[in-house]
Structure formats: C-alpha cells, structure tokens
C-alpha cells in the first residue's frame, strides 16, 4: 500500500476521533501511518477508559430495568455518548434488545460514539433490519470513519446489508478508512459484481482515484486482475484521469500493480492512452514499473500499430 495513502487514512481517523474537521492535522502528512495508528489507539483507550468503574455500575443498573425503559432513558436523558459508553458494560443480548427500541437517528448518534473493539459481541448480534437504517444514515452523514471501524466486526449477512445501504462514493470513502484492511477482499466479494464498475466510475467522476487505488492495493491479485480489466474498458478519458491522479498524488506504487494485473488484451486497450501521455506522466509511470511490465506495454502498443508512437513517447519522456 502507498505509505502516503496509508498516512492520509490515519489522519482522517485521528481527526474524526477528536472531532476536528478533515485537514486540520495536515501537518501529520509526513508521519508514518503506524505511528499515527499507535497514537490513535492509545488516545481511544484513554478516552474510553475514563469513568470505567461508574460505567460498569451503570451497566449493572441497566440489568434491573426492562429494555423499553432503558431505551427511553438513553434517548431522553443519557444521550448518545453515555449510552455508547454504558453499552460496552451491558450483556450483549440485552444491549441488542435495547437498541431495537431506539429510533434510527439516536441509534446512529450512539453508534458514532462506540468503540467497536469493545462491543464486538453486540455488533455480531445486531439484526440486518437494524443495520440498514443506521448504515444508510451514517453514509448520508459522511461518517465514513465510523462505518470503516464497524464493518470489520460485522458478520457477512449484516456486512452485505451495510454495504448495500451505502452509495458508491460512500463505499469507496469507507473502504479508504476501513480498519483491518485484510478484510477488504472478502467484503468486496460480497458485493454485487455490477457495483465494481459503478465504484470505478464514481472514482473517475468524483476525483477519488487515490481512494480507488488504495482499495485495489488491498485486495487479492485475482480480484485486482478482474477489476483492472474493468478499468481498461472504461475508456481513454477515465484511464488518463487515473494516471494523472496517480501522478498528482505521487502514488505510482499503487497504480503499477493495477496495470500489471491487466491481461494482454486489456493492455492493448490501455496502450493508446499510455502512448498519448505527456512526457512527465509517462516517465513517472515507467520509472515505477518493473521491466517486464514496460515490455508488456510495448508489445501491447505494437499489437495496435502504435509501436513507433510508443517508442517516440518513451524517447520524449527521456527514457530508453
């Protein structure tokens, strides 16, 4: 994964944790992502451990009350922060029963305040019909970091429902800040195949290629190859946009595996775009690509009668 993108994702998560606007911690862009992750987890623990003893007592008290009354007290008095903190101390079955009696809006507010690591058993037990409205609202509120924290803890059934509730843009932005990205490949496998093309078009239309490249960076070779074929078929404008975005964001290391995953036929589709690239972009791409890939692109250009153009483009880029 591009170290630069990884750090950007961590900056967004840290900004969300302390409730400041995205971009506030721009000064962290040179810091290693793992350092930011360690800091975020440490701060999360410190915030969520506060008042632990009192919260445990509150959880014990909740046992004495019927779920409808607990839900009512939470919504009319405790508010989302206290309700979320207390949730971690309540029996998961009771917590799910209480959640079912809350309004979707309040449940969404409370979800934002939860630490999913502490309520994994509750997340696993939340039924799909409760997940759908909350996921929809989180997407509408652009709470991508919250979604990204929760998806890693959802079983397949509710994970599918949550992803189906998000727009292509929300899904792409959520994937970018997903916790435990090793789950991404499996999660993408649960999506309807036609959504992949939609997500890629959304990346092209919305200037979200860095997020898309990050997604492609975190999936299996097999799935990346299938998606790379879709990209190759999206047309010159889209591919040029992808290459320009990779250049602007200095994330060639993320683009190369996508091009490398393309079949020879897909490279043939890509060849005219590459041949027409300006010198700086072509040089950046070829510099980052392994020799075998450059040869493959050259052969693709040859197949579509663009060998001389490709050679000239390479010469313009100052490469042999």
């Amino acid at each position: 994964m591009s170290a630069r993108l990884e750090t950007q994702a961590e900056m967004l998560k840290l900004e969300r944790l302390v409730g400041v606007d995205a971009g506030t911690f721009e000064f962290l862009e040179g810091v290693d992502a793992q350092e930011l992750r360690d800091l975020r987890e440490r701060v999360t623990d410190s915030l969520f451990d506060a008042g632990g003893q009192a919260l445990a007592k509150l959880g014990a008290a909740a046992k004495l009350l019927p779920s409808p009354i607990v839900a009512n007290i939470c919504e009319s008095s405790f508010g989302p922060l206290l309700s979320a903190r207390a949730a971690a101390t309540i029996d998961p079955a009771k917590a799910v029963d209480v959640a079912k009696r809350m309004s979707p809006g309040f449940l969404t507010d409370t979800t934002i305040e939860l630490d999913p690591r502490r309520v994994a058993a509750i997340i696993a037990g939340v039924p799909a019909d409760l997940v759908e409205p909350v996921a929809t609202e989180l997407g509408q509120r652009a709470e991508f970091v919250t979604m990204g924290r929760f998806l890693a803890y959802m079983p397949d059934e509710t994970l599918s429902v949550a992803m189906a509730s998000l727009t292509d843009e929300a899904l792409l932005r959520t994937a970018f800040v997903l916790e435990q990205k090793e789950h991404l490949d499996h999660a993408l496998g649960l999506l309807e195949p036609e959504r992949i093309a939609g997500i890629l078009r959304c990346a092209a239309d919305g200037g979200l290629w860095p997020e898309a490249l990050d997604l492609l960076d975190n999936i299996s070779d097999e799935r990346r190859a299938a998606i790379a074929e879709v990209i190759a078929g999206l047309g010159d404008d889209v591919i040029s946009g992808l290459i320009a975005a990779a250049s602007d964001a200095a994330i060639w290391d993320s683009l190369v595996p996508v091009v490398a995953a393309m079949s020879d036929d897909a490279l043939v589709q890509l060849a005219p775009t590459l041949t027409g690239l300006d010198a700086a972009h072509l040089r950046s791409l070829l510099d980052a690509a392994p020799k075998g890939l450059v040869d493959a692109v050259e052969q693709a250009a040859d197949r579509v009668g663009l060998h001389d153009d490709f050679t000239a483009a390479v010469a313009r880029a100052g490469l042999e």
Partner: protein, 71 residues
C-alpha cells in the same frame, strides 16, 4: 503545562517514535490541545448525562439503581 514533548509522549504512552518526535513543537501542541479538548468535553457530557438520567428512572426503582451505582 508540561513541555510539548512531554505532553505528546504522555498521550502516546511512551517514548515518541521518530515521525511524531520530529513534529514542530507548535504542531505537537495543536494535536495535544485537540485531544485535551475532546477529553474535557466528553468528561463534562458524561457527568451531566449521568446526573440527568437518574431523574428519569421510575421512582420505585431509584433506590436499587442508586445502590447499584453508588453502593
């Protein structure tokens, strides 16, 4: 207020790794200030919410609930 390095080190829970340690002191302060502000805001909200919540508990249940909460 502790020195900037100490503040961020305390938040980090140990010696700062190179990237965080290399941050400009003013940026370290901005980061710590944001974390502090969140901690204070949440502490205040939790306290007020707990106090407010007891008023909503049915009268018959207040005694056992208060006993569970405060011993």
């Amino acid at each position: 207020m502790p020195a900037t390095d100490d503040r961020l080190e305390k938040e980090f829970g140990g010696t700062l790794p190179p990237g965080l340690a290399a941050l400009d002191p003013a940026d370290q302060d901005r980061l710590c200030d944001a974390i502090d502000a969140t901690r204070k805001r949440q502490k205040k909200e939790l306290r007020e919410s707990t106090e407010r919540g007891l008023d909503f508990i049915p009268r018959l249940l207040r005694v056992p609930i208060k006993k569970a909460l405060f011993g």
